[in-house]
Amino acid sequence: MTAKIRSIASAAGHEAQLDLAPRPAHGKLTITEVGKIYDPQGAAVVAVSDCSMDIAAGDFLAIVGPSGCGKSTLVNIIAGFDNLSSGEILLDDAPLATTEQAPRPGSDRVVVFQNGALFPWKSVLDNVMYGPLVQEVMTHREAKRKALDLLRRCGGLDRVAEAYPAQLSSGMQRRVEIVRALMNDPKVLLLDEPFRAMDTVSKTTMHEHLLEMYHVCRKTIVFITHDLEEAIFLADRVVVMTSRPGTIKTTLDVTLPRPRTAALLASEDFRALKAKLSAAVHEEAKRAFERGEREQA
């Protein structure tokens, strides 16, 4: 189960290598035969079963699958919101979650949420400064300097440092949330369908911003989505999950060069990759949808 991932940087040639930050030392995730069973009223629901994958430090992994396929469950376990029923997860070869040891949330694995979880009662700056301040790893002054610097480097967000989140567009909110996560210098960044329900232009802009951030401060990223194009465009590797029980159906290495731009979307390579995945995904979606309607009846 330890299929090593080809280094994208080396595959993409010299030019891209200059742009992409070097692979970080930390953030290797080893997920081995993870299963999760929910047992609300005696009726056991298998949310995830026999899920294994290796993610090298600094890799960008996307997980796609229909709703209810357990991809959020997987992220919740990695983040430490939920425990697992079988298998184990290692972070940098140290146990993160096992059947004996329930995982705990920590600032080394920060989640960016589907609906956004910037604290609406704090300004952008206060939101970004929050992590280091409560962990007491920085003084107020240091935190402020770093926050403003990071905001500025991520598309000039320091302009809105004093605004409340509700005054920003949803795209900006999500970018600030990513910056808030990066402030903690996490080993792993977990993005749970962060660009869902955005219109095409905002979404495309967000992709560019995310890739830019990835190039500047490269982290291990686990990105959950049900948008195939998004997954292929962003990730080094795409994992397709089936629904109920959530297992891995296919894995696809994306060998497109970095840095990637929107022009890529119209390329023959991209089209070929997409065609490879879409059959599998649509079949899975239809199955999940029809079962959903049957259960409703």
Binding site: V45, S67, G68, G70, S72, F81, R244
Partner: protein
């Protein structure tokens, strides 16, 4: 379908207003039972130890004894129940009968709203019990004046709730009906009225609680019968157990009315039950 992913998230509560009244507390578990038993034990101990302030308070055991020996079989006690229930019923039903149409009128007729809504806003902050003296002056019998005060307690709540509901009606619901060629009468009957039913239910839940509060106080001030009076007489005659029995009876009566109102509300909104 997505229940698996959502098991951890909590449901969002509805209107804050309802929260204060509707019992969204979970059924008691062992901890709850411990708390309740502890409460009664503490009470018993405080009375037995004659802690200051508890001199005139009877212990729970005494209360139960008195309840069984002199009240449960006393027809007079049950008459008090009946009297209070009647007053609540009349006041509450009258408030709904007058308040709902008035709320609808205020919500749908602009001119009427401009003219009379401010007057209602002016009268609303006056506490219902402040109406007691005027009410006694005005109505020929004490019974009528108590029913009137009870009515006032629930009336403004229902008017305001219905009026707000009409104003905040989903305009897409109205537009759709217009598109499909419904007449004004059809829109009123089949769209506007059902739209405000949830708010009527909220008004009823809030109203029934206020109604009991008002009836009890009005009975203490101005009546010679009912559960409120029973409690007050217990105080006047310095018989502690009667005061407690009165309070418990009122609590149970109020709770029973809430159950009835909840039952009615469910019937009013079949589409809300899953």
């Amino acid at each position: 379908m997505s229940s698996v992913e959502n098991t951890v998230s909590k449901p969002h509560p509805g209107k804050a207003l309802v929260a204060g009244r509707r019992s969204r507390l979970r059924p008691p578990n062992w901890r709850g039972s411990v708390a309740v038993v502890g409460f009664f034990l503490l009470w018993e101990i405080l009375v037995r130890a004659q802690v200051s302030g508890f001199a005139q308070i009877p212990s729970p055991v005494t209360v139960v004894k008195v309840l069984f020996t002199s009240y449960l079989l006393d027809p007079g006690y049950w008459e008090s129940w009946l009297t209070s229930f009647q007053r609540v019923l009349y006041g509450f039903v009258l408030a709904q009968l007058l308040g709902i149409p008035l709320g609808l009128l205020l919500g749908t007729r602009k001119t009427f709203n401009y003219l009379f809504y401010p007057v209602i806003e002016l009268l609303r902050p006056i506490p219902p019990l402040a109406w007691v003296p005027l009410s006694i002056l005005f109505w020929p019998t004490a019974e009528l004046s108590i029913v009137f005060i009870t009515f006032i307690g629930a009336f403004f709540i229902i008017v305001i709730n219905v009026h707000d509901a009409v104003r905040h009606i989903n305009k897409e619901h109205l537009w759709l009906a217009q598109s499909l060629g419904a007449s004004r009468g059809q829109i009123f009957r089949r769209i506007i009225v059902p739209s405000v039913i949830p708010s009527i239910a909220v008004g009823m839940t809030l109203g029934i609680a206020v109604t009991w509060n008002v009836v009890i106080a009005a009975e203490m001030i101005a009546a010679d019968s009912g559960l409120g009076r029973l409690t007050w007489e217990g105080y006047v005659s310095h018989t502690g157990p009667v005061v407690i029995i009165g309070m418990i009876s009122i609590g149970i009566a109020g709770y029973l009315s809430t159950l009835v109102v909840d039952w009615v509300e469910k019937r009013m909104m079949p589409w809300k039950t899953r």
